[in-house]
């Protein structure tokens, strides 16, 4: 935030950069998805393995995949009209993908108009697939946050309260261990222990998608995702807590005769939690990768599961929408973290 700049103009400037970033990224993703081998793969998956090269080519031609790259990007974005597929012999226009109920005439209908296109894998409009998936992932994220944040803050504060104590050392080693445990590791270990040996929990969250979330089917995915973040946030909290505890005002409060617990609760805690707040917000991009791993591992039909299906089948519109959502999540959490950091910490309001 520049000097004299209001929070509002700061946010507006950041939103501008954000829009530019998203434009650039969507162009890059669009380019990568539409590379020749990927289009071939799409055509093969839509026809069948034994189709001749001419069949594939004519399918791509008919469905508009052979138009100029920028025209197609413009169509996706909504600044160029989308064309229906035209039968080369009769000249009759028909919708490109009948299962998405696209009309049979040219029209402006892209992301800017709120049309994310048509999923060629699931044979539904992208929004119809993506919205429930995002909802499912939202539930997962909520529980992960509900577990991860309090646990990691508690560990961090306990460890940082008395630097170098035995509690500090053992908690620190424990948090280093969890940061060395990515989801695909902890997922396997937890499944082995809690599902295979003890039989307490379900090793699959497939039933959570349609039958609702229960302790039995949802604990393992939540635990698996939370554990990787806990170590990291706890370490940040600890570092921040250690720093705060050496400050002058803490010593003053102690000399004033306040008890150690009162000092920690009344004076240290609030200041020590500023840095972890930023870190928690910046955890979202990591959580996105975690979501993909966990949802695939436990067969939970959320956003990550959809992303993998889209990528594996080169489902162009769905994958573009997924990228847009994930980039939006990353960028907006960065923005929130910056604003929140500035609001929470009076010292850096003017930098």
């Amino acid at each position: 935030m520049g000097e004299g700049e209001t929070v509002l103009s700061f946010i507006i400037r950041r939103l501008g950069v954000m829009a530019l970033t998203m434009l650039c990224l969507s162009l890059v993703v669009f380019f990568l998805i539409n590379l020749e081998p990927n289009l071939k793969k799409l055509a093969i998956s839509q026809l069948d393995m034994r189709s001749s090269a001419e069949d594939l080519e004519s399918w791509l031609q008919r469905n508009g995949y052979r138009q100029n790259f920028f025209v197609r990007y413009g169509q996706w974005l909504g600044v160029m009209p989308k064309q229906p597929s035209i039968d080369p012999e009769t000249g009759v226009a028909s919708p490109r993908f009948a299962y998405c109920r696209e009309p049979a005439e040219a029209r402006y209908s892209g992301v800017l108009q709120g049309d994310f296109g048509c999923s060629t894998k699931f044979k539904v409009p992208v929004a119809q697939k993506l919205v429930p998936a995002l909802g499912a992932t939202g539930i997962l994220m909520f529980w992960v946050m509900a577990v991860m944040v309090p646990v990691s803050l508690l560990i961090g504060v306990l460890a940082g309260m008395r630097e170098g104590s035995r509690t500090d050392r053992s908690l620190s080693v424990a948090s280093i261990t969890t940061t060395a445990t990515p989801e695909y590791i902890s997922g396997v270990i937890f499944t082995v222990v809690f599902a295979s040996w003890l039989g307490w929990l379900n090793g699959s969250a497939a039933s959570a998608t349609n039958q609702g979330v229960t302790f039995y089917n949802f604990t393992l995915p939540v635990m698996t995702m939370a554990i990787y973040g806990i170590g990291y946030i706890a370490r940040m909290t600890r570092a921040s807590m250690v720093e705060v505890m050496t400050q002058q005002y803490i010593r003053t409060a102690r000399l004033k005769g306040l008890s150690f617990n009162a000092v920690v609760l009344k004076h240290a805690l609030r200041n020590a939690l500023i840095a972890p707040f930023t870190v928690i917000m910046l955890q979202f991009p990591w959580l996105l990768t975690g979501v993909v791993i966990v949802e695939v591992m436990f067969r939970y039909q959320g956003f990550g599961f959809t992303l993998v299906e889209a990528a594996a089948n080169n489902d162009i519109d769905l994958l573009l929408a997924c990228s847009l959502v994930s980039v939006l999540v990353v960028l907006s959490t960065q923005l929130i973290s910056d604003i929140g950091y500035a609001l929470l910490n009076p010292r850096i309001r003017v930098q």
Binding site: V17, T21, C24, L25, V28, V29, L32, I33, L35, E36, P37, N38, K40, K41, S172, V173, I176, T177, T179, A180, T181, P182, Y184, I185, G187, V188, I189, T191, V192, A195, S196, G203, P285, L288, T289, V292, I293, V296, M297, G304, L307, V308, A311, N314, L319, C322, S323, S326, V327, V330, L331, Q334
Partner: protein, 385 residues
Amino acid sequence: MEFETIGVLGIVTGVIARFWPVWLALGIILFLSLRFKKVLGLYGHLFDTGVGIAGLMICLFWLFTAIFADVIAPFDPLQQIPIMKDAMPGTIDPGTGQVFLLGGDRLARDVFSRMVFGSQIVLVIAPAATLFALMVGTTLGLPAGYYGGRIDNFLSFLANLVLAFPVILLFYLLVTPGIRETAIPQWLAGVFFIFPVIFFGTLFYTRFKGRPGLLAVQLAITVLIGGWVYVGLVFNADPLGIISISPNELNIFVAVVFASSPGVFRIVRGLVMDIKTRDYVAAAQTRGENPWYIMLWEVLPNARGPLIVDACLRIGYTTILLGTLGYFGLGLAPESPDWGTGIKESSRLLRAYIHPALPPVFALMSFVLGLNLLADALREQSLKD
């Protein structure tokens, strides 16, 4: 059919015995390090704390495992002995009389040997990719932090662009069989792998400008070695035939460097912005030194502490990324013995057999843990200085 097994105790002693070259090497290193601790500087100080020793020993353990893999592993990682399909740990193969120490997997391969050979893949790619990412990030981060202004804005925008991609999406886009049919990996490799040459070229040029004789030798060596590695990696056309890389490995390598360079860039940029306000930098500026001389010979050496710590953590992070790639079956061959692929293969069958899943899981976890502990100890030591 009944198999003979060697029991739990037999398995434990068997595994420990197979690692004998590693124990020997670790013993020698430990002895020498403790003997000459005083003169070893930062490395010697690692032996002051339990965390440091533990981290270093775990890392060296896997390093020596990778080096001596041929001696340690009793079987070839791809060798299938059909009768040993899903064999329990400690089963004796009736054909050869050899023991499947940690059992057999779904395709009747020795889990122990695969874990040992998997370390080779991880310990080659992860440190090498980290090194390249460091070079790229440093070479770009130095001017961004030092000059600020437009260069900084532009480079930071690019870095944030890459960082805004969730890693997994980046890999799904960049590491595909489709992309290997195009020239994109070669292009990216061509861009990334030129950075070490630029870096060392500038490093020597700024320092030894006044001594043309020495400079010529150094530049010649840089170009020769750099060019040799470059030709070998980018065009896969090493005239000596020593350096070679298969297209899918190059693809992974490039993607990993691409994903982790912006992180290095950010750290270097931040460190430079901090260090450039110091007095010795102002002194060098007053002397009229070349900006690149100041960046490479005044600023960079003073940023080495945090950079070494970050490099340690980053190798661990790269290992995790490689595991992720293996877990999603991206890039690496399906029969590759690396740990991520092993976890993918076995985690699908956890309901039936758990023993093939555990060795790669603990291997990856312990290696990353070792690196994190090492980084933690290094950080503590560099703070003391």
